[in-house]
Symmetry: C2
Subunit: 538 residues, 2 copies
């Protein structure tokens, strides 16, 4: 981290930045959006930014010029662009100083740095070269698959980052699928997840991608065994259908068991892996290799935007700082991500992982417990559906929920109809804009049930059309926004120690089950035994 | 509401109950689950309840005997069972005293009260008779459909309660589907939602259920128009394929346009409508009429349990009061619903609606703004998947998230394999129990990154197997839990005024679009016009 400061005392602690003190003061009297005239067209113009294929409209946040100026100051004081540069060039950012930790580079941006202005960092260049080699391998493999015409379906077996991101992108790009190609997903160790998928495929025509960096993920290996058994029972040789996406030299990197192996590396965190081979194999099969490249191009464009020193054009940085304002100064515990696009149905679930696993942390990078709030709880569903669901609480509940709207000017299929004087796409966008304004302005009424308090902060990320390129940009927008927030809080956004305790205890309980079945005794675990007794008495 | 008190002064306000004061005191020192021995087998036994097909295990909540005793007291003081009786028998509970409001009965429980001990309330009996008549109509209709063998697919067009609940149940019961029957769902006014579904069906073999109580829901009518146009273009007569689920006499109750109409009534709120014809038509087609009846039987069983005056056997009431403890006394803003069953993938989205639209309110039933927190933010995804996603934050984030686990002893398909010494179902349940214990107990460590603070409250709802009957019970468990909480807070859980403002503004913006297309002028709306200019410049 050559360009970023080392910690001496508390200077680099988030709460001790000068700008943090100023923001704390400003937060005692945030811009009141409910006063007539306070949400003016001028304001909407003033608080907007454009970069790449997107606009960010944030006049409906509770900010004013002072707040935006000070958020920019904070981004300087916390060296956020320096840290982003350090990340993208390959410095070792995934670590906790002074304690055993992962100690890794964070180079998911290198997975898509093939197109223009490639990063000149040594680590980045090495990672990009490796990623490019895998892409070339994939291109050759897919062209063979296309030629042979044997496969119509693909099953992706993976969990967490090997599932949520790839699935969200696949669902979002149904309109761009190659004719006759279908992808399926198995993730949960729940045996019903596998059983349901296996009912819907013909193994003879199906490829299976098994994704595990370590080659040792419990859920994934278990599900792979179930699927292998099914293929064998159906008279198919798994080694002619199964592909491995794994670390080079892992137990899964074995040509006797897999038709091909595609590599990923320690410097790609699961939740940031969708543009690597983790998503690449399935996406290239379903959409075609060129569309997979378009996703990478879009992501790369936004990675470059995240390096822009001009705050007003750096969309992920503006988004990050607005989030910090809402989280640390207005003290809102959650954020709703509300895409007005049914295709983005599973995108909030991906962001939930990417954001909450990255920034749901309680110690800083020097191992000190933080004395401020880190990552918020992220949730959401597409609009207009959500309007008929949880929006009641967003408008009139006792908790304020900052909302991040996402919308597109055009639909994907361009199949629309004028019903009662307007197109569906116009209705969709009208609802998006209406919600943004309604949440901000609220409504006065003599009937207390028709009172809307307003001052519900929100922003709109607006694009022209959801296609592979813009989806890549959108993905990168959020990845970089999350990284910026982690940098600002001085936490490690790239490890996930919080998942270890559950794993450890689960293995002890699995031993209880096994021991019981074999009439043996397992290690004592009184609480678990009490729960198991309840299970047995059902 | 004959059996419940009328409000005089502040006596019936949630914060002024005697028990509320006691609970406030107890909350200053809640049970510490992290102290060795404090989560004992005895405790797990003590804090458990069983009724119907379910057990509720809540030893991992931050309660003790005093807290549970006082929560029971609070349920008495707030007359929760009286109010549940009033609801189920058909008193007018959906109203705000002294202000124009919906003024309706709340009788979703009557939709499934056919099996034993039918409610003797006048309103309930009338509603049940009407519901039964629709069921008989549906049974006859489906037996004709089965005989003719013409239809394989069904599209449900509806939004909010006409979508989320039915879809959640359909997804949950894939293992019980009739051979060769498939359901599809169109909800969003986004035209891509419709376009994607229409690509996947053969109109000749497809029934379409259009669901709108009023016959006037914008999204639903728009999507119906798109689907009708598609059927006509394909040479199919819509009136031979389209079914209406609507209010008697609504614009949709029209035999010239629909093959059949099935009725719903004002006393069924959308988010509580899944067991009515709103879910019934699609579920009876997909699963068979008998399985639909099994869902109703299960729901009815839990409705009866909700009337049990014995607190310790009334699962929805215990669940409700634990929620009140976490929300109003320990002050947690969200609740995560975490089913360890992939089939329950969309169940949290249904609960999100049912809970947040019901209890995301800011005034009490007399129109006074409340001075305490009402409904929490509900979110969640199935485990084990979530463990590789947002659980990091649940374990080590700076916000505490109460968790409601749901699990089943057996899998649905019963297709399982012993991998590395254990079955998948055993691994699944081991993970569930491990998470519950890990969240409660936490972990000490010299490495600050391996410290888990613990005291993360959670409970487990445990059933034998997820089938139509138990799913009906689960649905009713949550419906009644939500109603109990609303009764306790003295709010109206059955209206949704908070959705109106957005609708009103959306219509004004739709007019802007239409006017622009026709070169006319619409009513001024400066903020919206500013947003539209941004859209156009993309």
């Amino acid at each position: 981290m050559g360009h970023s400061p080392t910690r001496t005392g508390q200077e680099s602690s988030f709460r001790h930045h000068k700008a943090s003190h100023v923001l704390k003061g400003l937060a005692s009297n945030p811009h009141d959006l409910t006063i007539e005239g306070n949400l003016s067209p001028t304001r909407i113009e003033r608080f907007s930014a454009q970069a790449g294929e997107f606009k960010l409209l944030y006049g409906t946040e509770r900010v004013n010029d002072d707040v935006m100026h000070t958020l920019k100051e904070l981004s300087h004081e916390a060296h956020l662009i320096d840290k982003m540069e350090a990340m993208q060039r390959g410095d070792v950012l995934n670590k906790i100083d002074g304690f055993p930790s992962e100690n890794r580079e964070v180079l998911h941006t290198a997975m898509r740095d093939f197109f223009m202005h490639p990063n000149q960092g040594k680590g980045a260049m090495k990672a990009t070269a490796a990623a490019k080699a895998e892409c070339n391998k994939l291109k050759a493999f897919m062209s063979k698959v296309d030629q042979e015409g044997k496969f119509t379906d693909i099953i992706q077996i993976g969990i967490g980052g090997s599932d949520l991101g790839p699935r969200a992108l696949y669902v979002a790009l149904q309109a761009y699928k190659k004719h006759g190609r279908v992808a399926h997903f198995i993730s949960n160790v729940d045996p019903d997840d596998t059983a349901a998928v296996l009912r819907s495929i013909d193994p003879k025509k199906t490829l299976v991608v098994v994704v595990s960096k370590s080659g040792g993920t419990l859920e994934t290996l278990t599900n792979e065994s179930l699927v292998r058994a099914f293929f064998e029972k159906s008279g198919c040789k798994p080694e002619e259908h199964f592909l491995a996406v794994t670390g080079e030299g892992s137990p899964m990197d074995n040509p006797e068991r897999y038709l091909a192996s595609f590599y990923i590396w320690d410097f790609i965190g699961g939740r940031y892996s969708v543009t690597s081979m983790v998503g690449g194999v399935m996406l290239a099969f379903s959409l075609g290799f060129d569309q997979y490249m378009n996703i990478l191009k879009g992501a790369h464009e936004m990675d470059r935007i995240a390096l822009n020193h001009d705050f007003d054009q750096n969309l992920p940085l503006i988004g990050a700082m607005l989030g910090i304002w809402n989280r640390n100064f207005l003290h809102y515990p959650t954020v709703a991500v509300l895409p007005y696009s049914q295709a983005l149905l599973r995108f909030p679930a991906h962001l939930q992982q990417c954001n909450m696993e990255s920034n749901g942390k309680r110690i800083d990078k020097q191992g000190n417990p933080v004395d401020f709030d880190t990552g918020a709880i992220i949730w959401g569903e597409p609009g207009t559906n959500g309007q008929h669901s949880f929006y009641q609480l967003i408008h009139q509940g006792t908790n304020v929920v900052p909302c991040e709207f996402i919308g597109f000017r055009e639909s994907q299929y361009q199949e629309d109809l004028n019903v009662q004087g307007s197109l569906s796409q116009e209705k969709l966008l009208s609802n998006l804009f209406a919600q943004s304004i309604a949440l901000a302005k609220g409504q006065k009424s003599d009937n207390p049930n028709k009172v809307f308090p307003g001052n519900r902060p929100n922003s709109i990320l607006l694009g022209k059309r959801l296609d592979p390129f813009t989806l890549g940009s959108l993905l990168s927008y959020y990845e970089n926004k999350i990284a910026f927030q982690g940098f600002c809080w001085n936490i490690n956004s790239f490890d996930q120690e919080g998942v270890q305790l559950g794993k450890k205890l689960a293995n002890k309980i699995i031993d209880q089950f096994s021991a019981k079945r074999q009439g043996k005794k397992a290690e004592k675990f009184p609480e678990a035994e009490a729960l198991l007794r309840h299970l047995e008495s059902l």
